[in-house]
C-alpha cells in the first residue's frame, strides 16, 4: 500500500512538473550580444521646473573596472496569484533578456548583474516579508522593483526609513507624494495625473470625438476595481482639475477584482446619470469585462471609452480573444513608446531580444517592453552613482542622489523616469487609440507626448 502511495505521489508530482514545464514557449537560440544603441528619449515637454545645473562627473570610477563584482537587481512581483496573468511570462523573460544583454555588453563597469526575482502573489504580507528578507540579506540594498499598488503602498514607509528606492509599477499618489521626498518612483504617471490628462484631451477634442448625438457637455463615469488602484484616478485634485475645464465627473463606480465580477450594474448606473465617457481604471480582465459589457448593453457607440495606461495593453486584447475588435475605438493614456514605434533604437533593441527569444506574440505586452527598458535605466543610474561616490561607497542614499542628479533617466527611450524637484513619477504621456491597421489591431497615437496636469496630492 505504501509503495503504491509513493508511486502515485511521485507520478502526480512528476505530472505537475511536466505540466508546468512543458508549456507553449518556443525554443530558440539566445540572441547575440547587442551593444546598447543611442536612445531617443520620448519627446516630452519639460515640466515648468528649474533643473539645477549639475557638474559633470570629474572622476570616472567605472574606468577602473569592476570585473569580478556583482550587482543584484531585486525584483518582487506577483508571478503567481490572482493577477499574475498581467505580468505573465513576458515579464520574467524581459528581466532575463535585459540582464543577459547588459552583461554580454560588459555589465556595469565590468561587474555582472544577477537577478533576484521573488514571487509575492500580489499579497501585501508577502511583499513586506520579501522586502524585509531582502533588506536583511543585503544591508546595503539600494533599490528594488515592485509591481502593484498594494506593494507600493505597503512598502512606502519602510523604504523611506531604510533609504531604498522602489521602482514601482503601482502608481499610487499617496505612496509617492505623502509625505514628500518619498523613495517610491513610478514607471509611469500617477493615476490622477493620467486621468486629468485624459480629461484635458477630452475637453480639447470633444467636438471631434464625441459620440453621435452627444451634446457639448462632457460627463465622465469612472469605473474601477475596488481598492486604491481603482480609486486612484478620481482624487480630489483630479476632479478639481476636471471641474476647472468644465468636465463633470460622476461618483466612482467600483467592481470586484474578479473575472466573474458584475460590471453591468455599475455601467448602467453611470449611463443613468448621463455619462457619455467611460474611463476604465483596471487592468487585464478588468477592461475586457467593461468592453464586452458595453457592447452587450449596446452602449459602446453612445460613449467615448478610455482608460489608464494598464487598461490599454496586449493582454486585454488577448483576453478578449476573437472579440478583440470590440476594443476598436478605445482610448488610453499611454506614457511610453510601444512595439510599433520601430523607428526608436530602444524599441528595436527590445524587439530584437523578444524575437530572438521566440516568444508568443501575446507576450508582446507592456510588461516586456517596460521591464526590458527599465533594467537599462537602472544600469544608467547605478553607473552614475559609481561615478559620483565610487564602488565602495555605494548605498541607497548614493543611488538616489545619483538618480536625482540625473533628474530624468531614459529607459532605452521606451519611457523615462523623472525625479526632478521632488517629482516621483513621469508627468507626460501620449493618448493612443485602438485602431485596425492593415488588418491588425494597433495602439495608434492620437495625441503625442504632452505634459499632464499636476494633480499631486498635498504633502499632508
Amino acid at each position: 500500500m505504501r509503495k503504491k502511495s509513493f508511486i502515485l505521489l511521485s507520478m502526480l508530482v512528476l505530472a505537475s512538473l511536466v505540466l508546468t514545464a512543458c508549456g507553449g514557449a518556443a525554443t530558440t537560440e539566445a540572441p547575440a550580444p547587442t551593444a546598447v544603441p543611442p536612445t531617443k528619449v520620448p519627446p516630452t515637454e519639460a515640466p515648468p521646473t528649474e533643473v539645477p545645473p549639475t557638474e559633470a562627473p570629474t572622476v570616472r570610477y567605472c574606468a577602473d573596472g569592476l570585473e569580478g563584482e556583482t550587482f543584484t537587481f531585486y525584483s518582487q512581483a506577483g508571478l503567481t496569484g490572482p493577477l499574475s496573468t498581467i505580468l505573465g511570462t513576458a515579464f520574467v523573460n524581459a528581466l532575463n533578456d535585459s540582464i543577459r544583454d547588459i552583461n554580454e555588453a560588459g555589465g556595469i563597469c565590468g561587474a555582472e548583474i544577477v537577478l533576484k526575482l521573488t514571487d509575492t502573489q500580489y499579497d501585501a504580507e508577502q511583499e513586506i516579508a520579501t522586502y524585509q528578507q531582502t533588506k536583511g540579506e543585503d544591508p546595503n540594498l539600494m533599490s528594488i522593483a515592485t509591481y502593484g499598488s498594494g506593494a507600493t503602498i505597503a512598502l512606502a514607509p519602510l523604504l523611506r526609513e531604510d533609504h531604498v528606492v522602489n521602482f514601482a509599477a503601482g502608481l499610487n499618489a499617496q505612496a509617492m507624494y505623502v509625505p514628500r521626498d518619498g523613495w517610491t518612483v513610478g514607471v509611469a504617471p500617477i493615476y490622477a495625473d493620467q486621468f486629468a490628462g485624459f480629461v484635458q484631451f477630452l475637453s480639447e477634442s470633444w467636438a471631434d470625438i464625441k459620440p453621435e448625438g452627444a451634446g457639448d457637455e462632457i460627463v465622465v463615469g469612472v469605473i474601477g476595481w475596488e481598492g486604491p488602484f481603482g480609486a486612484g484616478a478620481t482624487t480630489a485634485e483630479s476632479i478639481a482639475y476636471a471641474e476647472s475645464v468644465g468636465v463633470q465627473v460622476l461618483d466612482l463606480e467600483t467592481y470586484a477584482i474578479s473575472a466573474e465580477a458584475d460590471v453591468v450594474t455599475p455601467l448602467q448606473n453611470l449611463a443613468l446619470q448621463g455619462a457619455n465617457v467611460i474611463y476604465i481604471q483596471s487592468l487585464g480582465f478588468g477592461p475586457a469585462q467593461v468592453i464586452g459589457t458595453l457592447h452587450a448593453l449596446e452602449m459602446w457607440s453612445q460613449v467615448v471609452v478610455g482608460g489608464c495606461n494598464w487598461a490599454m495593453n496586449t493582454d486585454v486584447l488577448t483576453i478578449l480573444g476573437e472579440s478583440a475588435p470590440a476594443a476598436i475605438g478605445m482610448y488610453g493614456v499611454f506614457p511610453y513608446n510601444w512595439w510599433n514605434d520601430t523607428d526608436l533604437p530602444g524599441v528595436q533593441q527590445a524587439l530584437a531580444a523578444f524575437e530572438a527569444g521566440g516568444y508568443a506574440e501575446s507576450d508582446k505586452a507592456v510588461s516586456y517592453i517596460t521591464s526590458y527598458g527599465g533594467t537599462f535605466a537602472w544600469k544608467t543610474i547605478l553607473e552614475h552613482a559609481i561615478d559620483m561616490v565610487g564602488f565602495e561607497n555605494l548605498n541607497g542614499d548614493a543611488f538616489f542622489d545619483a538618480f536625482k542628479d540625473l533628474g530624468t533617466v531614459s529607459a532605452l527611450g521606451i519611457f523615462e523616469y523623472d525625479v526632478r524637484d521632488g517629482t516621483r513619477a513621469p508627468r507626460s504621456s501620449q493618448i493612443r487609440q485602438v485602431q485596425l491597421v492593415d488588418g491588425a489591431l494597433e495602439f495608434v497615437i492620437v495625441k503625442d507626448f504632452f505634459v499632464l496636469p499636476d494633480t499631486r496630492p498635498p504633502a499632508e
Binding site: 505537475s16 508546468t20 514557449a25 518556443a26 530558440t28 505580468l87 467600483t254
Partner: protein
C-alpha cells in the same frame, strides 16, 4: 485523545495529574524552544526572523479559531475580518489616544471580541454549513465598512491607514528582529490561556457542545451563552493577532489582506494542524507558511536548472500547483492533522520497544 502511557507510568498526585508539563525534560524542551525563538535575531537569517514573526501572530489567530471550531464545533469564516477589526482598533487607539501599543493590544482584543459577539448571534439558530454562511457576512460587512465609513479615520478607498511603530521609551520595535519579542511574548500568554481554557468549566462546556449540543443542554449547559463566549474569545484572539500584524506591517486596511481567502487559509491551517488540540495551531500554521515558501523556492530552483525557455513558465505556474498538490496529499494521507501524527509519535516513543 487519551494519552497512551506504559505500565507503571502514572501520576502520584492530583497536582501531577493536572499538570500540563509532567516531566523535567518537557520543561527543558519548552525553555529551549522559547530560547531558540528568542535568540533567533542573533543567529537566524532574515528569512527565519520574518517568518517567525509571521508564524507567531498567525498562530494566535488560529488558536482563537481552534477554541471556536476545534473545541466548540462552531465554524467561522470571519476570522480575518476580526483581525482587521483588532488592527484598526489598536491603530486608532495608539494614533488618536496616544496610548502605548501594549495598552492598545487588550483594547483591540476586546473590541474585536465585541464585534465577534455580534456575528456569533446566529449561532443560536443555525449550525454547521449555515453558521459558516452566517459568519461569512463578517467577511463582507467589515471590510466594506472600513472602505466606506469614516474615511478620515479608516482610510476610505485608499484601503489603509498607517500604524505607529511600537516603542518602550526610546526603544523602537521597528525591525523584525526586535518585533519578534512582542510576538513571542503575546504568543506565550495566549498559549497559556488557550491551554487552560480547555481544562476549565468553560472548556468542558465547549467540548460538550461540540460533541453533542443536545446532551450538553440537557446537562444544564447554556448553549447560547457558551457559544457566544466561544465567539467572543475567538474574535479576541483574532483581534490580538490583527493588532500585532498591523504594528508589524506598519499599516492596517484591506490592502493588506484580511480577505475571505485569508479566513479560509486560517481554517485550513487549523485542519492541517489538528482540530481541538493545543499544538495543532502551531503545527498547522508553521506547516502552511513554510510550505508556501518551500513551493516558491522549489519552483525557483527547478526553473534554474531548466532550459531558459521554460524558466518563465515554471516561475509563473509552479508554486500554486506544487502547493496545491502537497495540500491534497496531506489531506489524503493525514486527514486528522499533524497533531494526531505527533500524538502517535509520542505514544510510540513512550511505549518503545512495544509500540505495536
Amino acid at each position: 485523545m487519551a494519552v497512551m502511557r506504559p505500565a507503571g507510568d502514572y501520576d502520584r498526585s492530583y497536582q501531577e495529574d493536572k499538570s500540563y508539563i509532567r516531566k523535567p525534560w518537557q520543561w527543558v524542551v519548552l525553555i529551549a524552544s522559547i530560547g531558540v525563538v528568542a535568540t533567533c535575531p542573533y543567529w537566524g537569517t532574515p528569512y527565519i526572523i520574518t517568518t517567525v514573526n509571521r508564524i507567531g501572530y498567525t498562530i494566535i489567530a488560529v488558536q482563537g479559531l481552534n477554541i471556536l471550531t476545534g473545541y466548540t464545533g462552531q465554524i467561522s469564516l470571519g476570522q480575518a475580518a476580526f483581525m482587521l477589526v483588532g488592527g484598526y482598533v489598536s491603530t486608532l487607539v495608539v494614533t488618536h489616544l496616544g496610548l502605548s501599543m501594549f495598552l492598545a493590544l487588550p483594547i483591540a482584543a476586546v473590541g474585536a471580541g465585541i464585534v465577534g459577539l455580534i456575528f456569533g448571534l446566529p449561532s443560536l439558530r443555525v449550525k454547521g454549513f449555515y453558521l459558516a454562511m452566517a459568519t461569512l457576512a463578517a467577511q463582507f460587512i467589515i471590510p466594506w465598512l472600513t472602505k466606506h465609513a469614516f474615511p478620515e479615520f479608516l482610510g476610505g478607498t485608499e484601503g489603509r491607514i498607517a500604524t505607529p511603530v511600537p516603542q518602550i521609551g526610546s526603544f523602537l520595535f521597528n525591525e523584525p528582529a526586535r518585533f519578534i519579542y512582542i510576538t513571542l511574548g503575546v504568543l506565550i500568554v495566549t498559549t497559556f490561556i488557550a491551554a487552560n481554557i480547555t481544562r476549565t468549566r468553560l472548556g468542558r462546556a465547549f467540548i460538550a457542545i461540540r460533541d453533542n449540543d443536545l446532551a450538553a443542554e440537557l446537562l444544564g449547559v447554556n448553549l447560547f451563552g457558551y457559544k457566544l463566549r466561544a465567539f467572543f474569545i475567538a474574535a479576541m484572539y483574532a483581534g490580538l493577532a490583527g493588532a500585532l500584524k498591523a504594528h508589524y506591517q506598519r499599516a492596517i486596511g484591506t490592502e493588506f489582506g484580511y480577505s475571505l481567502t485569508e479566513s479560509i487559509v486560517l481554517l485550513g491551517m487549523l485542519v492541517v494542524g489538528g482540530l481541538g488540540t493545543n499544538i495543532g495551531p502551531f503545527l498547522g500554521t508553521t506547516f502552511i507558511i513554510v510550505m508556501q515558501d518551500v513551493s516558491n523556492v522549489v519552483g525557483s530552483s527547478f526553473a534554474g536548472i531548466m532550459p531558459p525557455e521554460m524558466t518563465a513558465r515554471l516561475l509563473t505556474s509552479f508554486r500554486p500547483i506544487f502547493f496545491g498538490l502537497i495540500l491534497m496529499f496531506f489531506l489524503i494521507f493525514e486527514p486528522r492533522g499533524l497533531a494526531h501524527r505527533w500524538q502517535l509519535f509520542k505514544a510510540a516513543w513512550r511505549l518503545r520497544p512495544f509500540s505495536h
